[in-house]
């Protein structure tokens, strides 16, 4: 293909890109968006893959085997964290109208103009080599294709690259800096970039497939052939010395680059339409990287096999292989792919850099110059545009200069890595700024200063020496003969290659500088405020955003004029229409207002920030409005309130569920209390009744005996007998009530002794015998012969047994009442059962009968019997002895009460008191 044909092709392709961008912009103007799509977003991120990837990876793989991979594995790993880190950056950038890395850092560290400018310088100097790499790639692409058709004599490649550079200046301006936009969004540019990502991927994969299958008959065959040559096979194993070190540092560098390269910040953060697109990109972008790398090693091996003499630059294999195979069409397609990769990078990177240069470096200076009168004067719109466009030209021409001076001597990858390390210097300040509220401006300046200084010395200076700009003795002997200061082996550490030691020293000292600077100096109030706003960005609500407050001292008209000077009348009108629509006001009414609201001033500042950067915007706004910084306390209060509200919101759901539960519990408890109250009320009434009944007889008979002196003696005796019996009954009742009170209050005296249960049973049967005989109740006792020793209180245990027996007797039918009393011995306890043949106890009542005040309904006469205390007292006593009491299953027909007591052994584990632990003496 002729030079002219190639040029035409290239310009046609650029025209096609511009067409896409133009259509996308038009589409946007109609309210729709091509780029509001997670897949397009992911593709636009693939601007990461430049000519370095397209040409350089194969070159590196041909020399260093697998070493091309860390550049893609690092970003893959970091992309896994995007849904946390990148999302936060997007949130912050949108909230504060941040449009560049420099702006991001400057706002984070207390609106520091100086820091922003510093970052811009680093980015500018650092990225120039990277852009020059793209120019170089386009240049050799032209040369190779032209040479292949024998047209190399037409023109020299140097002048070609220069013209290409100029064309790129025009193209970039056309793409990215046609006009000023408040949001600094480039709908068309992103659409074109996404398209380019598809083109370069296709071109590379097609080239790989054609070369591997056309030239070698498949991947298997290719590898088989390569394995035969040891020098090739070695290249993809991890055998060379220091290989893991290289591997690690390259991974690290690429990881930081994917986050911190200006063009990545531009597409990933500034151009992001919807935060949620990040999720898709987190895996789709790595997938893109994987696919574009599939044929890197095969192509490198193919090149090594087909150009065994090594006289062809491995960086050009992707182009030279199709040419060698005689496939001109493929070569042309590959050229377009490489052209895509290079132009995509150049456009976005240059737009991002020119934005930084203009907003963070030139404008802040310009705006302070006395002859730039902010309050009066004509629109700055055209000045701004001129600065922007000038910046684009500056960036590209500087890149061309670098390419001419030093770049041509280096491989694509080694040039690219220099830029990676330059932007990696932002890592401590950016990541620290996102997650460490202590990090401050001084720390950031210190870290960046140290890191960038070492970068300059170890990489850029070394290149300059090698390019012959300085004396070689710097490299061989160190400055002034100081070996430990040699730029390629700082402090005696050389690493496996210059980039490794440079990475190690610059990042370590940068991080140290950042940490120490932040810890040793105090931030200003504004820094502290901004730090908190950044670190807590995801927790803050949009509404409660105390970015900055202004004293309302300007009229809406003043602000409108301010906007017009920067944005131009048309964009200002649109912006104000948006504003008034949001607030539900009409335009004339709004402009008539005497004082602009703080809200409008903030809006104005935000609009300006997008165009000229936050620092300049603030200065511009403050030219018409008095600034009133809000107090730290106020900020903290707002933040705390917001955070609390959010935390509260999260908890609210749980709380309300808990609340429901508590309410339910309370209801139950209340019902239970009312029930208990009722039971207690009834109990007192019952006690009264039980006490009054014997008292009634006693009083009645006493009065009768007193008032009837002529009563026959047998009558007298009969009445007196009743009086005595009822008195006993009264005494017993009172005793029981007192027992209950003592047990309840824990004042019960326990007289513990070693007892044989036989004795207790005998006593119980003896004392209840009369009652049983009166009621015609037969008793059957089944008690084992063996001694059943227990340690306990004789009277209390007797009380329990009597209570159970009298209960049983009470419930026995009036005829043929029968009580079974049985004892069974187990390993550690024995069990006493009392069974009657009464009506039994329904299952649901079994727990309840032991409750205080709970009276057993005696179903044969329906009247509650006794005080309702007997079983409750018994339960307390048995449990105090370490036993259990209960109603056994099977009590539906005749109640079976049982209680257990632990068998006393000679070395007891006593349930009663601690001191007996010492009494292991068996003779006690």
């Amino acid at each position: 293909m002729s030079y002219l044909g190639l040029l035409l092709t290239s310009f046609s392709y650029l025209a096609l890109l511009f067409g896409i961008a133009y259509r996308a912009d038009l589409y946007k103007a109609r309210g729709r968006s091509w780029i509001n799509n997670a897949n397009v977003y992911s593709l636009s991120l693939a601007v990461y893959c430049t000519a370095w990837t397209f040409y350089g990876s194969v070159g590196l793989a041909a020399k260093g085997g697998v070493m091309f991979l860390p550049i893609y594995l690092g970003p893959t790993l970091l992309a896994l964290l995007w849904s946390g880190v990148l999302r936060k950056m997007i949130r912050i950038a949108k909230r504060y109208a941040i449009t560049s890395l420099a702006d991001f850092l400057s706002v984070r560290y207390g609106n520091s103009t100086f820091l922003g400018g510093w970052v811009t310088v680093i980015a500018f100097v650092g990225i120039i080599p990277y852009i020059s790499l793209q120019i170089k790639a386009i240049g050799f692409g032209f040369d190779l294709i032209a040479q292949s058709s024998g047209n190399s004599a037409d023109t020299s490649s140097d002048s070609t690259t220069f013209f290409i550079t100029l064309a790129l200046v025009a193209f970039t301006i056309l793409f990215g800096v046609r006009h000023l936009d408040a949001t600094e969004r480039h709908e068309g540019m992103v659409a074109a970039i996404a398209f380019e990502s598809i083109v370069k991927l296709l071109a590379f994969v097609v080239c790989g497939v054609v070369v591997v299958y056309g030239g070698f008959g498949g991947l298997g065959a290719l590898f088989k052939e390569a394995v035969q040559k040891p020098e090739l096979a070695q290249s993809w194993s991890f055998t060379s010395p220091g290989v893991y070190e290289d591997w690690f540092f390259l991974n690290l560098l690429a990881m930081l680059a994917i986050l911190l390269l200006p063009r990545q910040f531009q597409v990933a953060v500034v151009e992001n339409v919807n935060e949620d697109h990040v999720n898709r990109a987190s895996w789709l972008f790595p997938l893109y990287l994987l696919v574009i790398n599939l044929f890197v090693l095969p192509l490198a091996l193919a090149g090594r096999l087909l150009f065994p003499e090594g006289n062809v630059d491995a960086d050009t294999f992707v182009l030279t292989l199709p040419l060698l195979l005689g496939n001109d069409l493929l070569a042309w397609f590959v050229f377009i792919g490489g052209f895509s990769a290079a132009t995509g990078m150049i456009v976005v990177e240059t737009v991002a850099l020119s934005n930084m240069l203009c907003n963070s470096l030139i404008m802040p200076i310009l705006i302070r110059l006395p002859f730039v009168n902010l309050k009066e004067g004509r629109g700055l719109n055209s000045v701004l545009l001129f600065i922007r466009r000038g910046s684009v030209a500056l960036v590209l021409l500087a890149s061309y200069a670098y390419y001419q001076l030093v770049g041509s001597a280096y491989s694509l990858v080694s040039i690219g890595l220099i830029s990676f390390l330059a932007v990696a210097q932002f890592a401590p300040s950016i990541i620290g700024g996102l997650y460490w509220s202590q990090g401050n401006r001084n720390g950031a300046l210190m870290g960046l200063g140290l890191g960038f200084g070492i970068w300059l010395y170890t990489l850029l200076f070394t290149q300059a020496i090698q390019a012959g700009l300085f004396d070689m003795s710097w490299l061989t002997q160190g400055p002034g003969g100081l070996e430990w200061l040699k730029p390629t082996a700082l402090f005696g550490y050389s690493g496996t290659q210059p980039i490794v030691q440079a990475t190690f020293w610059s990042l370590t000292l940068n991080l140290l500088g950042y940490l120490l600077g932040s810890l040793l100096t105090n931030p200003t109030q504004l820094e502290r405020q901004q730090a908190k706003l950044f670190v807590d960005a995801l927790k803050l609500s949009e509404l409660n955003n105390p970015f900055r407050t202004w004293k309302a001292t300007a009229t809406p008209l003043q602000l409108k004029r301010l906007l017009e000077r920067i944005l131009g009348p048309e964009h200002t009108r649109q912006a104000l229409v948006r504003y008034t629509e949001m607030r539900g006001k009409s335009m004339p009414q709004f402009l008539d207002e005497e004082l602009a609201s703080g809200d409008l001033i903030q809006y104005t500042e935000k609009m300006l920030s997008g165009s000229i950067g936050s620092v300049s915007a603030r200065i511009m706004v403050s030219s018409v409005v008095q600034e009133e910084p809000i107090g730290m306390e106020e900020v903290m209060n707002l933040l705390d309130a917001t955070q609390q509200a959010i935390a509260y919101g999260h908890q609210l759901e749980t709380k309300s569920r808990e609340l429901e539960q508590v309410t339910e519990d309370l209801k139950n408890a209340n019902a239970r209390l009312q029930e208990l109250d009722g039971v207690k009320d009834e109990f007192i009434s019952t006690i009264t009744h039980e006490l009054r009944t014997p008292l009634t007889s006693i009083r009645a008979f006493s009065e009768i005996l007193h008032d009837t002196p002529d009563l026959p003696p047998e009558k007298q005796r009969e009445f007196l007998k009743i009086v005595i019996k009822e008195s006993e009954r009264l005494t017993r009742l009172i005793g029981q009530i007192l027992d209950f009170e003592k047990l309840e209050s824990g004042k019960m005296q326990w007289n513990l002794e070693i007892l044989d249960v036989h004795d207790i049973i005998k006593d119980a049967l003896a004392s209840i015998g009369q009652l049983l005989r009166d009621g015609n109740i037969s008793v059957e006792a089944r008690i084992p012969e063996q001694p059943l020793t227990v340690e306990g209180d004789r009277d209390r245990l007797l009380q329990v047994l009597l209570n159970l027996l009298s209960n049983a007797a009470k419930f026995c039918p009036t005829q043929a009442g029968r009580i079974e009393l049985s004892v069974s011995a187990h390993a550690e306890h024995f069990e006493v059962r009392v069974r009657d043949n009464g009506i039994g106890i329904p299952e649901q009542e079994r727990e309840k009968v032991f409750e205080k005040f709970r009276q057993l309904e005696s179903p044969q006469d329906g009247k509650p019997q006794g005080t309702g205390l007997g079983l409750s007292i018994s339960k307390t006593i048995v449990e105090h002895h370490g036993g259990q009491i209960g109603v056994a299953p099977g009590s539906e027909h005749g109640a079976i009460f049982f209680f257990t007591l632990p068998i006393y052994t000679e070395v007891p584990t006593p349930p009663f008191s601690e001191e007996k632990h010492d009494a292991k003496d068996p003779h006690r």
């Binding site: 594995l73 040891p230 991890f238 895996w283 997938l287």
Partner: protein, 67 residues
């Protein structure tokens, strides 16, 4: 929760794609393409798991936000 899983995946990936795991392949004196297969395999695996994590529970993730 999802982000924590992704951090776990990041750490796993960093472990699998670094020394000393990679040194397994330097002990193999016979040239083979095992390291290449391993690297691309782990790579694909990470992408697959990430896709599952990020796309699988789209609705269960964070609440939709305005804008």
């Amino acid at each position: 929760m999802r982000f924590q899983r992704l951090i776990g995946l990041f750490l796993t990936g960093a472990f699998l794609l670094n020394y000393p795991i990679l040194s397994i392949f330097s002990q193999d004196l016979q040239p083979s393409i095992a390291p290449i297969l391993y690297l691309f395999g782990v790579w694909a695996g990470l992408i697959g798991v990430a896709a599952l994590l990020l796309e699988g529970q789209n609705s269960g993730g964070e609440p939709p936000r305005e804008g």
